[in-house]
Amino acid sequence: MIKHLPALLIVIPLLTAIITHLIGRINWVLSWYAVTIATFISFVISLSLLQTVLVQGRISYWMGGWEPPWGIEYAIDYLNVFVLIIVSFMAFAGAIYSRNNINVEIDDDRKPFFYSVYLLFVTGLMGMVITGDIFNIYVFLEITSLSGYALVALGKKRQALVAGFNYLVMGTVGATFFLLGIGYLYLMTGTLNIADLAARLPEFYQTKAIFTAFAFIVVGLSIKLAVFPLGFWLPNAYTYAPSTVSAVMAATGSKVAAYALIRVMFTVFTLNFFAETPFNFQYILLIFAVAAILVGSIMALAQTDIKKMLAFSSMGQIGYIVLGISLMSVTGMIGSLVVLLNDALMKGALFFAVGAVVYRTGLTSIENFRGLGKKMPWSMAAFTIAGLSMTGVPLTVGFVSKWYLAVASIESGMWWLVPIILLSSLLTAIYFWRIIDSIWLKPAPGEESLEQGHDYHRTPVKANDAPLSMLIPTFTIAVLCIVFGVFAYAPVSLAEKAAVILLK
C-alpha cells in the first residue's frame, strides 16, 4: 500500500466526504469524527510523502496504471509536498476547531452536510496540488471552488449570500479563463501533462498563441488568488463566511492558488519563456504586487470590522507572495514559499482567535475587543502572538518572510522595494497594535466607571475563554508561529530545494 499513498491522500478524504453526511444522520458528531480523522490521515500521509521525496526525489504515480502523458499522473516534488503539508495540517486544525465553533454558526440539521462540503473543499485543494496534469488541476479547482462558494454563503449574516455570489461569479470567470488558457496550450502542443508540456513548449515560446495562453492562465489564477485589482471578492467572502471557513480558506485556499500560479509560471513555462517573450511580465507582476501590498495594508487600516481587516491584510500578504514570485530569483521564490507557510499559520491563528470571540460575544467589530484580554486570555494571547508575527517581530515567522523578501529585493537590484516592505510593516504594526492595545489595555465596555475610581485592587474579571477544542488548535498554531520563527531553517531549506528545482 505504501506505493499507493499518493492516491490514498486524495481518495481517503474524498470517499470520506461522500459518506460523511450519511453517517451524520445518526448523530452529527460522527461526521465531525469522520472529517477529523480523514484530515489527520491526510496530514500523516503528506508527512510520509515528504519523507519519500526527501529520500528518492520526485514521485510519479500513474492513475489507472496509464503511463503519462496518456494517463493522468501525480507528480510530487518538494513544492507539492510543502503545500500539501500546509493544507492538510490547517484542514485538520480547522476540523478540530469546528467541533464547538459551528454550534453557534450553523444549524444542527446542516452540520453533516457542512462537514461533507468542508472535506470536499479540502480534498479539492489537495487534489489541485498533487496532480501533474493541468486539466486535472481545473477539475479539482472546480470541486474546491464550488464547495467554497457554498461555505461562504453559509455565513450568518445575509451579506454572506452576496459575498458568496460575487465569489462564485469571479471564481467562475477565473476558472474559465484558466480553462481557455489550457485550451490554447493544448492546441499548440497537443498535451495536458505538465512535464510533457514543459518539454514541448519551448519551440513555441515566441508565438502569440502561447503568450495569450500564458496571459489567460495567469489572470485566471490571479482571480482565484485574489491578486490586487482582481481580488475584490475576497474581503467580503472572508468577512461573512463562518469563522472556521474564513480561517481555513484564508490559510489554505489562496495558498493553493499561489501554488498553481507558481507551478504554471515556473514548471509549465520556465525562466526561458520570460526571457524570450517580448513582454516584460516581471514588471507587470511587480506593480500588481506592490499595489496589493500597499492597498491591502491601507484598506486594513480603515476597517472597523476585524474579519474584514484580516481579509485585507490577507490581500497584502498575497501581494508579498506575488512579489517574491515576480523577482524570479531563488531567494525571492524562497521568500514566497515561506510566506505561503507563514501566512497560513498567522492567518489561521488570527481567524481562529476571532472565531473564539464570535463564539463568546457574537460580535466582530474592533470596538468589541476592548478589555477582552481579561475575559479570554488564551485566545487573545494567541491573537497577540500572531499579530506580532504579522508585523514582523524577530523570532516569529513574519520576520522570516519579510527578511527573505527584503534580501531578495536587494539581490535583484530593486532597492525601492525595501522601503515599501518597511512601510507596509509600519501600517501592519499600526493596525494590529490598535487592536492589541484595546485587548490588553483598555477597559471592557461597561467597565469604564470602575477605572475612574482608581480601584487598584479590584477583583479580576472572570475569564470565560472559548472551549478547549477551539483553544488548542488556536494556540498550537500561534505557538507554531514562534517555532517556525526560531527554527526557520527547516521550512526554508525545504523551500530552497523547491525553489532551486523551479528556477533551474
Binding site: 461522500i18 489507472g64 446542516r110 490554447y184 502569440k208 498563441a209
Partner: protein
C-alpha cells in the same frame, strides 16, 4: 454553409439573451442557444457532447432557471446603460484573444499538434487496452478516468452544496425592514405544492380534465424514459452515451413525474433520504472500484487487474463506473428539483 450559419445564429442568440428585458424570454432564448450549440456539436461530430449539452443545457438548466424564476422576479429591472469599464475589459480580453488566434493553426487540419501527439495512441490502442469501441468513453472512463471521478465529485459537490444551502432553518440575521420585505414577497408565493405552481406557469393551465390525461400519459411514458436512460448509461462502450447523459435522462424522468404528480407523491416513490444516499453512492461505487483495484495489485482506478482477462475486466470496470456516474448525476438532478421546491414549502 450551415457551418457558417449555426455559429452566427449562436452569436445572435447570445446577444439577444442579454438584451431581453423579460427574464422568461431570456431563458427561452438561452434554451434555444443551447440547442443550437448541441446541433453545432453534432456537426462537429462530437455526439457525446451534443447529447450532454442537449440534456443539460437545454433541458436541466432551463427547468432550473424556470424554477428559480418562479421564486423570484421575472423582470430585469436594471437600467440599460452601457457600463464603460465592463466594455473596456471585454474589449481588452477580446483583443488579447484575437492577438492569440493570429498564429493559432487552422482548424480541421489533421496535422495540428492535438491530432498528432497523444490522440493517435488512444485511437490505436483503446480497443485493445480497454475494450471500448467508443474512444470518447475509453478516454473518459479509463485513460482519464481520474478526471471523470473528479467530475462526478463536482456533481456530487453541487448536490451537497445545494442541500447545505437549502436545508435547515435558514435563519439569517437580517434587519427589520427586510423582514417586512420578506413577508410581502412570500405572500406573493402562495404555495402548497410546487407541481401546481409550476404548472401555473404553463400556459395550457392546470385544467382538471387535462390533468388526468397528463397523469396517464406520464405514467405510461416514465418507464420508457427510464429504460432509455439505463440504455444510454450502459451503451457508452459501443456508441455515444454514458453515465452523464443517461444519468441526466433518469433524473429528468423523476422530475417529470413530480411535475405532474406533485412533490409529495413523487417523494413517496423516492424519499429525500434515499436520494441523499444515491448522491453519495454513485461516487462511492466509482471510487470504490478504484480502491478494489488497489487490492488486486493495480494502481488506483486500474480496472484491468480485476479479472484474469484484462480486456473484459476493463470493460466491466468501466461499466461499473458508468453506473456510478449515472446514479450520482441522476440523484443530483433530482436534488436540484426537490430541494429548490422544498425550500418554499418550509416557509
Amino acid at each position: 454553409m450551415i457551418d457558417v450559419a449555426i455559429p452566427l445564429f449562436l452569436v445572435v442568440c447570445g446577444i439577444a439573451v442579454l438584451l431581453m428585458k423579460d427574464l422568461m424570454s431570456s431563458i427561452m432564448i438561452f434554451s434555444v442557444y443551447s440547442l443550437m450549440m448541441a446541433i453545432e456539436w453534432v456537426r462537429l461530430n462530437a455526439v457525446d457532447v451534443a447529447i450532454t449539452e442537449a440534456a443539460v443545457g437545454a433541458g436541466i438548466s432551463t427547468v432550473l432557471f424556470m424554477i428559480i424564476l418562479s421564486r423570484t422576479k421575472s423582470v430585469d429591472e436594471s437600467k440599460k446603460s452601457v457600463n464603460i469599464l465592463a466594455l473596456l475589459v471585454a474589449v481588452g480580453v477580446a483583443a488579447i484573444l484575437l492577438y492569440g488566434t493570429l498564429d493559432l493553426p487552422n482548424l480541421r487540419n489533421s496535422n495540428i499538434a492535438p491530432n498528432t501527439h497523444i490522440t493517435p495512441y488512444y485511437l490505436e490502442n483503446s480497443y485493445e487496452e480497454t475494450g471500448q469501441l467508443n474512444v470518447v468513453a475509453a478516454i473518459l472512463a479509463s485513460y482519464r478516468g481520474y478526471d471523470t471521478l473528479g467530475e462526478t465529485t463536482v456533481v456530487a459537490t453541487a448536490g451537497l452544496c445545494l442541500i447545505l444551502l437549502l436545508r435547515g432553518r435558514n435563519s439569517k440575521q437580517s434587519t427589520k425592514d427586510t423582514q417586512k420585505d420578506r413577508v410581502t414577497n412570500l405572500n406573493k408565493l402562495s404555495v402548497d405544492d410546487a407541481g401546481v405552481k409550476l404548472s401555473e406557469m404553463n400556459p395550457t393551465g392546470a385544467d382538471k380534465d387535462k390533468d388526468i390525461i397528463k397523469k396517464t400519459v406520464t405514467k405510461f411514458l416514465i418507464p420508457f424514459i427510464q429504460l432509455f436512460g439505463l440504455y444510454v448509461i450502459v451503451h457508452g462502450e459501443l456508441g455515444p452515451g454514458g453515465g452523464f447523459q443517461g444519468g441526466v435522462i433518469l433524473g429528468v424522468s423523476v422530475i417529470v413525474y413530480s411535475l405532474v404528480f406533485g412533490l409529495k407523491e413523487s417523494q413517496k416513490r423516492m424519499s429525500i433520504k434515499t436520494k441523499d444516499l444515491l448522491v453519495s453512492s454513485g461516487v462511492l461505487i466509482y471510487g470504490g472500484i478504484g480502491v478494489i483495484a488497489l487490492f488486486f495489485g493495480g494502481n488506483y482506478l486500474q480496472y484491468n487487474v480485476l479479472l484474469p482477462d484484462p480486456k473484459f475486466a476493463s470493460t466491466l470496470g468501466i461499466m461499473g463506473i458508468e453506473i456510478g456516474v449515472g446514479i450520482t448525476v441522476a440523484a443530483v438532478m433530482i436534488t436540484l428539483f426537490y430541494e429548490t421546491v422544498r425550500l418554499v414549502d418550509n416557509d
